[in-house]
Symmetry: C2
Subunit: 362 residues, 2 copies
Amino acid sequence: MLHAVIPAGGSGTRLWPLSRAGNPKFLHPLTGSDRSLLQSTFDRLSELSSPEHRYVVTGTSHAAAVARQLPTLPESNILVEPSPRDSAAAIALAAAVIAEREPQALMGSFAADHLIADVDAFVETVRAAMTMAQDGLLMTIGITPTGADTSYGYLRRGEDMAAGSVLSEFKEKPDHVAAVEYVSSGNYLWNASMFVWRVDVFLAELGRQQPRLLDTVQQLAAAWHTPKRDELMGQLWPTLDKISVDYAVMEDAAAAGKVGVVPGDFGWNDIGDFDTLGSVLPADESGNVIIGKGETESDVVAVDARRNVIVPSSGRLVATVGTDDMIIVDTQDAVMVCPRDRAQEVKGLVDAIKDRGDVSLI
Amino acid sequence: MLHAVIPAGGSGTRLWPLSRAGNPKFLHPLTGSDRSLLQSTFDRLSELSSPEHRYVVTGTSHAAAVARQLPTLPESNILVEPSPRDSAAAIALAAAVIAEREPQALMGSFAADHLIADVDAFVETVRAAMTMAQDGLLMTIGITPTGADTSYGYLRRGEDMAAGSVLSEFKEKPDHVAAVEYVSSGNYLWNASMFVWRVDVFLAELGRQQPRLLDTVQQLAAAWHTPKRDELMGQLWPTLDKISVDYAVMEDAAAAGKVGVVPGDFGWNDIGDFDTLGSVLPADESGNVIIGKGETESDVVAVDARRNVIVPSSGRLVATVGTDDMIIVDTQDAVMVCPRDRAQEVKGLVDAIKDRGDVSLI
C-alpha cells in the first residue's frame, strides 16, 4: 500500500488572472471536466492508495478549500504549512509524519496541478517505481522530452534495470544550451516532480545532506498528534530554508547513485501556462480552445479567429475578430491578453502588477 | 448667420462594444476631452451660428440624451425622426424646416461624430464655403486623401474659383481600383460629409431629383409648429426611401455643375474605427493609446506591448504582455479583442452577435 503525498502549493502565476494566490490553479477545473486538478490528482491515486493513506501538504490559506474539495481525505492527513518553505520542507515533513506511523512505509509524492491523460499507464508506471523503491532507490518518473525546456529537471539514464534504470545524473533546470544538448542526446528524461521511495531511505539521505531539516521535521512529526504541534510548527517552521527537494536532496543523491528512474508515457502535462493548457484541451474546428465555457452563462464569439485560447469566466461576452494564436482571459476584476508564444511572460506581467501594489488582483 | 444642422444618427458599429445602438459614438467623449463628439461638434459651430440657429436631427432613442448634452439648444431645434431614413430625409427635413423660417437661409450640415483638430481653420473653411454657397452652389468640403479608402466619397476638382472650385465629379464610395486611381491622380478630395448651401437652392435641386421627398418634407415643415406635426410625421416619414444625400442629390447635382468644393485642412478624422481613433489620440512612450483612462478607476498594465489601442471602461484591470498593434476594449458586459489592421471587421463581429440573437449586447 502506497502512502501518497500531494504537495499543493504554488499559485500558478503564469495562469493569472484565472489562477490567483488566493485561488491557485490546483483548485481549478482546468481539465475540461468539473473536477479540479487537485481532485483529479486525488482520484488518480485511488488504485494505489486508500484515502487514509493519502496526504495533502498545503498552505494556511488553502487548507479549507482542500478539505472541502476532498471530503474523503481524513483531516489529520491535511498537513498545513504555517508559511511556504518550498518542496523540500513540505515533502520532508510528510515523510517524517508517515515514518512515525510506519517506519518503512512506501511513500509517493505527486504534484497537485499536473494533467495525466492515461491513468492506467500512470498507475502501472508508479507500480514499477514502487518495486524499485522497495529495493532502496529514491525513484523518479521520467517523461520523454518534447523540447529543450529549461523549466524542468533533466534525468540522465544510467545502468539499466528491469523496470527502469539508475540515474547517472539529475540536473535541475539547466541553461538552454545544456537543455538542447540533453534532448538531442536522447539519454535524458524530464523530471515530472513525482517521487517514490521508502521513507526510511529518504530520511536517511535527507540526514546526510540536510541534517538540520531532518532534525526539525522529526521533532515536528513526533509532536504531530500532541497538543504541542501548533506551537512547535509556529516556532520551527519559519526557520527552515526555502529550497526545492530537487536541489536539497535529489541532485546529490543521484550523483551518489541512489536515484532511479522509470520512464512514464501517460500523456503528462504540468499546465505551466495558457499555451500548454490550450495544447492539451480539445479545440473547435478553428483550433480555438474555449476554457470554462458552460460554467457560467459566459460565451465567446470568434470571427475569422484561429488557434486562440479563450477563457470566459466573468459571465460577459468575449468577442474577437481576426485574432490568431492569442490568449484572452476574462475574469471578474481583470482581463488579460497575450500572444500564445509569450505565455511564459504572464509571470512578468503579474510581477509588474505586484510592483504597482495591486496585491488584491494577484 | 449660418443655420447649422447636425445629423446625429448611426450607431458607430465599428466602435463596438464601446459604441452601442443605445449609446452611439456621437454621445461618447472619444476625443480625450470630457465633451462628447456631439458636444464638440456643437461647440465648434459657435463662431458660425447662435444656438437658436443650430439644429440636431436624431432618432427617438437619442432625443433625450441630445437634449441633456446640449442644454443651450432650443427644444424646437431638435428634429426627431420616427425611424431612421438615412441622410437624404434627415437633411431635407431640416432644410424645409429652416426654409419655413427663412426662405433663403444659408444652411450647413455637419456630422455629429467627426474629430477636428484645428477649429479656427475649420471656421475659415466653412466661411469660404458660405461665400460660394451665397452665389448658388451646393458646397462640399474636401479633405486631401491619405489613402485609397473606399468608405468615403471622392470629389473631383473642376474649374477653379476664388475660394475653391466647381466639382466636375462627385463619386460616392468608389471601388478600390477607382479609389487608387483617384488618389494617385491628385485631382480628388475626400467628401467630409459637410455641406453648405442656400436652402432654396438645395430644395430646388431636391425637387428636380427627388420630387416625392421634397413634397413630403415640405408638408412636414409646413405643419412643424402645429398640432398636426406628430400625426403627419408618423404617417409620412415611414414612406420615405432610405438613401443618403450623396446618392440622392449630390452625385447628379455635381454632374450638372451645381456642386462646389472648398479644400479643408483642419485635422479631420471621422473616427471610423478603433484603429483610426488610436491614430488621432496621444500615445504613451510605447505607442499605446489608452482611451477613457481616468473616467473610472479602471487601469491598464502593459508589459513589452507596443502601439495597442486599449479601452478600459469597466473599472477592471486590463493587463497585457507581448501584444503589438492590437485593440483591446473592456466594457461592463463585453470584451473585444482585434488586431488594429482588422479594425474594420468589428462590424462583421457585431453582425455575428446579432445573428446569435444577443441584441442586448449591440
